[in-house]
């Protein structure tokens, strides 16, 4: 083994030019793969953030909701039990679950929505989807603030008692502008809906089958957990999510394999040149009684060393320039020597199998 390593290292030193070029190619391929992985992970995070900002795209409503009324008034006379959120979470049917209780109130001559938002469930660690509420007061929409002449710190009258304005939202261009947000339990108490919800907002997850009619599938699956509940699926944000994910996946999956493929092709070419250069050496070794396998191991040892060296250098570069390890790093360390040996295998086999007499005559 020691003699084999000595033989391989000696040859690498002797033909250092091709060794450096081949190692450099492996380094470039590994670095591109590692950077592509890092970019993909960054893109995935960015995608998650963007999709979070797009908002929820599913609304689960009580079975007796008049959907026309809901679209007009954003309220329903029906109710869901509060444990409906637990049941949906256990069923794993959605990415995020936000329990909501909502009712319209008249205040200061205007009609507003009083919205109670509960703790987000199922994957709520990555930032809140809904406007955040505060235990120390109400968060109000810009139209509410404008019409009632309120600002942070003001006191506002609501059914069930006055509350201090904790924050005023910037104009959102949505129903949020005429909404008053409070913690779920507070709004339940003020509207007399303790232990009940008017809707559950949810984010569609990628847990369902790839089918043409995801709404029908969702309706069926939700129905198993909450019989008669209705599901509204907003198609536009759902489609926007799907396309964004597809774009991020395509961008992430292309660069690394392409770089690896190009590098492997060039290394394969170098392997052929190397074997052509070493025909006489192969002939001498075979004449001295080395078996075909032994000669093959000597020839492949070069590419194994090139792969290992390339992977280690690439990992060093990646460690210096990128934050955070990922499993791909260890795969690169393993895959680079394997790929280098794989592309060198055919030329090496041809070299080791060459007729020693012909090789010596050259």
């Amino acid at each position: 083994m020691e003699r084999l390593v000595q033989l391989v290292l000696g040859e690498l030193r002797w033909r250092w030019g091709t060794a450096v070029v081949a190692t450099g190619l492996v380094v470039v391929a590994c670095v591109v793969v590692l950077f592509a992985d890092a970019i993909a992970r960054g893109a995935a995070d960015a995608t998650r953030r963007i999709q979070r900002d797009i908002g929820t795209n599913l609304v689960i409503l009580p079975g007796d909701t008049d959907v026309t009324d809901w679209w007009l008034l954003r309220s329903t006379r029906g109710h869901l039990p509060q444990d409906a959120v637990d049941r949906l979470e256990q069923a794993g049917l959605a990415g995020r679950l936000i329990p909501v209780v909502r009712g319209s109130i008249e205040q200061g001559g205007g009609e507003f929505l009083l919205v109670g938002i509960g703790r987000e469930r199922a994957g709520g660690r990555r930032g809140a989807l809904a406007p955040s509420t505060s235990d120390s007061g109400a968060v109000i929409g810009s139209e509410v603030a404008s019409l009632l002449e309120l600002q942070s710190g003001s006191s506002m009258q609501l059914p069930g008692g006055a509350v201090e304005v904790h924050d005023v939202l910037l104009p959102q261009g949505s129903l949020d502008d005429i909404s008053i947000f409070l913690p779920l339990e507070d709004v339940q108490r003020r509207l007399g809906l303790e232990g009940r919800l008017t809707q559950i907002d949810a984010l569609e997850c990628r847990c369902g089958p790839d089918i043409d009619d995801p709404l029908a599938w969702l309706q069926t699956e939700v129905g198993k957990v909450l019989p008669a509940a209705q599901v509204i699926r907003r198609q536009a944000p759902a489609e926007a999510r799907r396309r964004q994910r597809a774009l991020a996946d395509a961008a992430a999956s292309g660069a690394g394999p392409a770089a690896a493929l190009v590098a492997m092709c060039i290394v394969a070419g170098l392997a052929w040149l190397n074997v052509r250069e070493r025909r006489t050496e192969c002939g001498v070794l075979r004449a001295l009684g080395w078996t075909r396998t032994s000669v093959l191991v000597v020839l492949l040892g070069r590419w194994c060393m090139v792969g290992v060296a390339g992977a280690i250098i690439a990992l060093g570069i990646a460690a210096a320039m990128l934050k955070g390890f990922s499993a791909v790093w260890w795969w690169a360390l393993l895959a680079a020597p394997v790929a280098a040996v794989a592309v060198g295998a055919v030329p090496a086999l041809v070299g080791a199998s060459a007729d020693p007499v012909e090789a010596l005559r050259e």
Binding site: L7, E11, W14, E281, V284, L285, R286, G289, W290, V357
Partner: protein, 218 residues
């Protein structure tokens, strides 16, 4: 030790087959020295490659200690080449990135044995040198040392003095003679007038046939 009975080797190259060795019979025993002479293309190298189990005869029978090597496996023949046959090539064919000692070790010698062999060929001070750092004569002597690794029963030398001056050629031939005296069967192919002296048998090949009767040099 090695017997050839009407051995032929035909190369199927071009439109007309080339008969490099034509029904050649000979026998080489331990302690024998055989000089194979002849012009370029007469079949000397082909004969050595057949004797070295590197080239399959296309006709006739070859025996090595009563065994027919070409009916055995390639691994068996590789083992025989490694353990019982030493080969000295024209120009040495040392690997340029290895030291002379490491080159000798390629023949199967340990580091100590390699030192001892290089000492025997007068290169004890050159063990750590690369082939490019020594003269042509020293390279060829190192090649002889590599061929002597493992004390082979058969030593085959293909034009070992072809590129050497008279003094270095003489030194290499002395080494071959020493190997013969040591009990090895030595076959030397040359197109020149290389004369190892001693009790060597000489044959002349032309177009793969022995054209000069066997004779013993004095």
């Amino acid at each position: 030790m090695i017997e050839l009975h009407a051995v032929s080797r035909v190369f199927a190259t071009g439109t007309e087959p080339v008969r490099a060795i034509d029904a050649l019979s000979l026998r080489v025993d331990a302690g024998d020295g055989l000089v194979v002479r002849g012009p370029s293309g007469s079949g000397k190298s082909t004969l050595l490659h057949i004797l070295g189990l590197m080239l399959h005869p296309t006709g006739g029978v070859m025996e090595l200690d009563g065994e027919r090597p070409w009916s055995r496996t390639p691994a068996w023949r590789a083992g025989v080449r490694r353990g019982r046959i030493g080969f000295v090539f024209q120009g040495g064919h040392l690997l340029p990135w290895l030291t002379l000692r490491d080159n000798v070790m390629l023949g199967g010698a340990t580091a100590d044995e390699a030192h001892e062999l290089l000492d025997r060929v007068g290169l004890q001070t050159r063990c750590g040198h690369k082939p490019s750092q020594v003269s042509g004569g020293e390279r060829q002597r190192a090649a002889v040392a590599r061929a002597l690794a493992g004390a082979p029963d058969v030593l085959l030398a293909d034009e070992p003095t072809g590129t050497l001056d008279a003094e270095n050629a003489c030194a290499v031939l002395d080494l071959l003679e020493d190997a013969r005296v040591g009990g090895a069967a030595v076959v030397l192919a040359t197109h020149g007038a290389a004369d190892p002296g001693g009790n060597w048998t000489s044959i002349k090949l032309d177009h793969g046939c022995i054209v000069t009767p066997l004779e013993t040099q004095s």
